[in-house]
């Protein structure tokens, strides 16, 4: 039995963790390649990265064309905008701050070590000198963020009991992952991104490159890579993996467990899982996949709304004991 507001706080904390890690993973990959990548390729990379994050470029208003905007912007400014710009509500520091604010209200449920790790990470990120980190290696800071978030995840996995608090936290992570991965695949599926190097990069960002090579070959084919990241049930960053986790977590949260009638978010998650397995496999064409992703993104937003309305903002008369 969990307080609804606390459940929402756990859910959002999970979403902020995932948001910060997703941004950090993309930055880590992209910044590590600054040293030997041509400028126009880098600019294109920034464009795709910003599109995947759903953010406009932070450049002068005189520049109207996206491609040009990323050519004139320097990597330091773009990375700083995504990491530490207080004006950017989705910057890593902002996600971390929001997660910490949520955690403050969850201290009765959160393991002490998890809180101190989160709190230490906040002070580290808030007080770090971005320029100094950049001088040591442009991707050092996002790599550090990833390390700290994984340490935090490890502590949570090791110390939290598998109750509703944990379920809502992980549910938040996977709902956020579903939305981010969908946006990421949408950004990569544009016709201008047919280069196999780009797709190799995507597989690496998703920690799926080795698995792809084992399943297919070292020759990266965009259609195969896309299908792999959509439907492989064993890759943590695939949509199929994420929706299965969401489904299993909702089954644990539902007081009736997996018994029928299922609650609305659970039913919706089942529909999404079925869509990945059936609709998608029925259509192997690239264009259909893009349509599918657009529809899937909308369904993910609806899943979030259903979770909130079912467990947090439900009408009082529905919650009264019988």
């Amino acid at each position: 039995m969990m307080l609804a507001r606390a459940a929402a706080d756990f859910y959002w904390m999970g979403r902020y963790f995932e948001r910060a890690e997703h941004t950090a993973r993309l930055l880590d990959y992209h910044l590590a390649r600054l040293v030997d990548t041509p400028v126009d390729v880098l600019a294109h990379g920034w464009q795709v990265l910003y599109a995947a994050l759903g953010q406009p470029p932070p450049v002068s208003p005189t520049v109207t064309d996206d491609a040009e905007a990323f050519l004139v912007a320097d990597a330091f400014a773009l990375a700083a905008h995504l990491i530490e710009d207080p004006a950017n509500p989705d910057a890593i520091i902002q996600s971390w701050t929001n997660a910490r604010d949520n955690a403050k209200q969850l201290r009765p449920w959160l393991p002490v070590r998890a809180w101190t790790c989160l709190n230490d990470g906040f002070f580290w990120l808030r007080d770090c000198d971005f320029a100094e980190y950049w001088a040591r290696g442009p991707n050092r800071l996002p790599a550090g963020v990833i390390d700290r978030l994984r340490l935090l995840s490890g502590i949570i996995e090791a110390r939290m009991s598998r109750d509703d608090a944990w379920r809502f936290l992980v549910l938040g992570r996977f709902v956020e992952r579903l939305q981010h991965q969908t946006a990421l695949l949408q950004a990569w599926s544009r016709p201008s991104n047919g280069d196999s190097q780009m797709w190799t990069g995507l597989l690496e960002v998703c920690a799926a490159y080795e698995a792809y090579c084992r399943t297919h070959s070292m020759v990266i084919r965009p259609a195969h890579a896309l299908a792999f990241l959509l439907s492989n049930p064993e890759i943590p960053c695939s949509l199929n993996f994420a929706i299965r986790r969401v489904q299993s977590l909702l089954s644990g949260i539902d007081p009736a467990g997996g018994r029928y009638p299922l609650r609305a978010p659970h039913r919706h998650a089942l529909r999404l899982a079925a869509a990945i397995e059936t609709d998608l496999q029925a259509s192997a064409e690239h264009v259909d996949t893009r349509d599918f992703l657009a529809g899937f993104a909308e369904e993910c937003r609806m899943l979030h709304n259903l979770i909130i309305s079912e467990y947090v903002d439900y009408p009082l008369e529905r919650g009264l004991p019988s």
């Binding site: 969990m2 209200q105 009765p108 709190n119 467990y311 529905r318 919650g319 009264l320």
Partner: protein
């Protein structure tokens, strides 16, 4: 720690010797260690400054203060007596009113007090435990221990007491073990059992800590206590009253709450009964309370007994209700509501400490000996315009304790706030308390919002220590 001739008191001999033998670097390391622990754990309070709230780590001093068991036992007996009398007084003013009729306390002082709640007249309070949690500020003067003020509404600071103890135990484990210090850590467990004991309708009551939210200055403490007690940490918006019962909104529907340990002031508890503009409270909560369907601790209306003007009458109340002499003395207090008290205060403003009767946190007070001529003139104006709102007390020669500051050990003024828990049958006092320190040299103000900090307080048994 030291006698007036500079030698170590017997009880502090071992600690004093250890500190004397430590190098400044070792002491610095010790101090850094405890401060870092507070930082990592986010042990904070919020200061509401000029329109902006800032979260700060509470300053902690690494040198514990020591009191002997016999000193503490005296305080313990005095606190039990005081709380007993105050609970009887509160029951009396909301029922028969004998103490008012017999002229022990002036009518107007009670009925005119903003904390007096007409709504509580005739309300049955479970087991007459109006005050379940009390934090009384005690100072040591040349004449012994004295009560500076009672905090009966929502006393705070207990989490800092527990955090100090945990940090010090970790920082100086050998010294701690050698002193056989009395343990304060069971406080949350005792708080839970005392609160739960007030419920009669179930053996397994559900307890909730009602907080105003994370912008409150003591939010850390609310979250800490809820976590340690295994209670729910709720805000007003999480609760709903239906059919005279209080429910909280969970992911599995509405669940009944039996005890509310409220950390919200009376005014904001219930917008239907008290302030209608309150967004922090629960509509209908007071109705459920009057119906006896929920326990609220502390009861609404207890603030009348910790009003600083009423404080002057507490020794008389102890004599009246218990037929005993007070064990703990009061600090001499002049009520500015009386002509005599006002004149004396105005004539001696430069020597007195003047406080608002409903004030707290060290705000709105004047410390005469440390005030400038202009501050005294301005304060005199305020005093004349609303004398009933002020009391004055002599500036006390507060005891001092050794603190590690600016790289060396220096004396600083201290007080102590022990916490008393009243349950259905018994009273429990944590053997220790929040020891507050005025960290600025010469300052007498120990409030954390005014540059104060905290340190651990050790209650030790002399006999055992000497073995």
């Amino acid at each position: 720690m030291f006698r007036s001739d500079g030698t170590l008191r017997m009880a502090t001999e071992r600690l004093g010797t250890a500190l004397n033998n430590a190098t400044p670097e070792q002491l610095m390391q010790l101090q850094d260690g405890v401060r870092r622990q507070f930082l990592h754990e986010g042990i904070t309070f919020t200061v509401i400054g000029t329109g902006e709230a800032t979260e700060q780590i509470i300053p902690i001093d690494c040198v514990p203060r020591i009191l002997t068991a016999s000193e503490w036992d005296h305080i313990d007996r005095g606190l039990r007596q005081r709380l007993h009398a105050l609970n009887l007084f509160l029951k009396d003013i909301y029922h028969e009113g004998w103490s008012l009729r017999d002229g022990i306390v002036p009518h107007e002082l009670v009925l005119g007090c903003p904390q007096y709640r007409m709504e509580m007249l005739g309300t049955k309070v479970p087991h007459d435990a109006y005050v379940s949690v009390c934090g009384t500020d005690i100072v040591r003067t040349l004449d012994g221990f004295a009560v500076l003020e009672d905090n009966l509404r929502v006393p705070s600071g207990v989490s800092y007491m527990l955090a100090c103890r945990a940090a010090i135990k970790q920082a100086m484990p050998r010294l701690y073990r050698a002193h056989n210090v009395r343990e304060v850590l069971p406080y949350p467990e005792r708080l839970y059992s005392q609160l739960a004991s007030l419920v009669t309708w179930t053996q397994m009551p559900r307890v909730a800590v009602l907080t105003p939210g994370r912008y409150n200055s003591a939010y850390y403490e609310h979250a800490f206590l809820a976590g340690e007690m295994g209670a729910e940490l709720v805000e007003g918006r999480d609760l709903v009253v239906h059919d005279g019962l209080v429910f909280m909104r969970t992911v599995a529907g509405l669940k009944r709450i039996d005890v509310i340990y409220r950390r919200v002031d009376d005014d904001f508890l219930d917008p239907v009964t008290f302030r209608s503009d309150s967004l922090l409270g629960v509509p209908g909560l007071f109705h459920a309370y009057r119906a006896g369907n929920v326990v609220i601790a502390n009861a609404p209306g207890t603030g009348v007994a910790d009003d600083k003007a009423l404080y002057a009458y507490v020794p008389d109340l102890i004599r009246y209700f218990l037929s005993e002499d007070p064990i703990l003395a009061n600090v001499e207090t002049y009520l500015c509501r009386t002509t005599e008290g006002l004149n004396y205060t105005l004539e001696n403003l430069d020597k007195l400490v003047v406080k608002e009767v409903g004030g707290s946190g060290g705000y709105g007070m004047l410390v005469g000996p440390h005030a400038s001529a202009k501050e005294i003139r301005d304060f005199a104006e305020r005093l004349r315009s609303d004398p009933a709102n002020f009391i004055s007390q002599p500036t006390l020669a507060l005891s001092r304790a050794a603190c590690f500051t600016d790289g060396k050990l220096e004396p600083r003024h201290v007080d102590v706030r022990p916490f008393v828990l009243q349950g259905r049958k018994d009273t429990w006092i944590a053997p220790g308390g929040l020891c507050r320190v005025a960290l600025r040299r010469g300052s007498l103000v120990v409030n954390s919002s005014q540059g104060g900090g905290c340190k651990d307080l050790w209650i030790i048994n002399e006999e055992e220590r000497n073995t």
